[in-house]
Amino acid sequence: MSSLRRAKPAAAQSTDAGPDTPPSLTPAELAAQRRKRRTGTLIATPGALYLLIFFVVPLGLITVYSFATRTSTGRTSLSGWNLNSYERIADDVILGIIARSAWLAFLTTVLCLLVAYPFAYYLATRPARLRARLLVLVMIPFWTNGLVRIFAIRFLLGSNGPASALSEAMGFGTFRILFTPTAVVLGMVYGFLTFMVLPLYVALERMDWRLVEAARDLYASGAKAFWRVTVPLTRSGIVAGCVLVFVPSFGSYVVPEILGGAKTLLIGSYVARQFQAARNWPLGAALSVLVIVAMLVAVAINQRNSANAERTQGVTR
């Protein structure tokens, strides 16, 4: 049993051989490198300009406005910078709206996960040809006009709609879901489910099922193998899906406007109101900044998560 003693230095050697010191480049090589860099810049320019004009500039304006003052006439005065708008966020009403938005977004995310995981699991374990077809089915609602879909749900859930009629026919009486937080969550689950299914599908499709067999061989029941092997190895998909659902749910505007009642005011609608009816642009801007910061935090979590997944699983694949 001598090969282990041999294996250790061999492993050490291979890591030593890793970072080579770059040899100095000849003028011709440097010129080629410069040309390559210039071409890269040229290709990226249109996209960069577009993002600059339609994303970075408005974002900057919003940030600037969030420090501005609202005049008594509802105009925004771009002088006398202050933190008043941010201080107003601490107001109980606004904190309530933020808490409610976060809570409903959380419920939406959990429900999406519970619905999407088994579905993505089913998808990923079908034969390759069937998989492609089922995936198209998942995408179809995603390609359909969102507003149409939400109005369809409004009709479905309405007190005169089919769901209520069915419930009455079965003797449970009519129900009132429309214009409640329940309706908003149901609508958001429907609207954002694809964002959960796709990353989960990708993670499960990449899953090495031999590892589950190994777990079963090592005395794990089906359920234990699932919790100890499948779930941890698809964690990157779970986190990505949750971020992708939570972020738009938290700032959602269309769904709560159509399915929610006056009592389910969420942050998206509240922000819209500040810009429109209430004419309080600085407050709307400050809340927008808050939502964007929340989103950036979520994205950072996601980035770290996928980097981790690559580090722990990359090489054995």
């Binding site: 090969s3 061999a10 492993a11 190994a214 777990a215 061989d217 090592l218 005395y219």
Partner: protein, 380 residues
Amino acid sequence: MSSDAVTSASPPGADAGVPAVEMHGISKRFGDVVAVDGIDLQIGDGEFFALLGPSGCGKTTTLRMIAGLDIPSEGRLAIFGEEVASWPPDQRPVNTVFQAYALFPHMTVEQNIAFGLQMRGIRGPDADRQVAEATALVQLEGMEHRRPSQLSGGQQQRVALARALVNHPKVLLLDEPLGALDLKLRQEMQVELKALQREVGITFVFVTHDQEEALAMSDRVGVMSEGRLLQVGTPAEVYEHPANRFVADFIGRTNLLEGITESPSAVRLDAGAVVAAANGLAAGSAAALSVRPEQVRLHRRGETPAGAPCLDGVITDATYLGHAFVYTVAIGPTASASGTNTGERAATITARSETGSAALAAGEPVSVSWSPEATTVVAD
């Protein structure tokens, strides 16, 4: 000689009582494909048994059925006398070393090894002690907190072994465990694995497509092809007395000389000449004479010893291998100047001789001979 070789070998542990693995008429179909076709096999307690065959012959499916990862379509399967054919894998007293190891990438070496114990509810100091023992057994001390991706192929292989052996399975199943290693490491691991098996005394069932590996490591070999078990025997039995043409051809290199049996003790070769060769076949059956290259003796034409069966031919190729020469000799009417060969079809024979002997060149007329005991007559 050839027909009774199939059943002549009894496993070392067979007389000690219940066989470790017992299969009766085991078949496995996947849709229309028959992966395993009616296997009968007994593997003795403490035996090192190799299932050998080309890829797609059903050897891995057979192993997976013992593990419980595939459920047989037909037949009976017992492990130490217990009928397990329909049991799920987690209920069976066997563990597997998977091809490419299937180590859990999200767990450390230690967590990988402890997994089976945890699943059986063994925790705390007792589990720690057993994990440490298994780690020491495969010499992985100091690697406990690494992840599989930080290990070399050989080290991963050891983790896979430890992860299985820590559970003290009654049978250890190994699916091409050395396949992913480079040649030198593979040869070292062959020796180690054999030593390890003796140390732990567990029945090993080993799947490989590498006939050298199977011969080198196992107490007995089962040769499979197209879902069927063709021959079971010790490495020497399988090598020296292959049961049929496939086994003769698959195990080692051999010359298969086509012919027709003339009597129970002689074969008329298509290349001419009637040679003495014991066979259990009816006269007039198509058969082939298997002669291993190292059993073929080469003589300069005219220096032939009396008595031995002898064919004339011409060397068409000479390859130098360092420790030996390998010659290809064309036999038959086209090669025969002397007219002693009366057959109509040509054949080639590969011969090996030690480098020390005088080298022969291509084009040289030679005669080949062998001792009749060194040959086996195989039918289809």
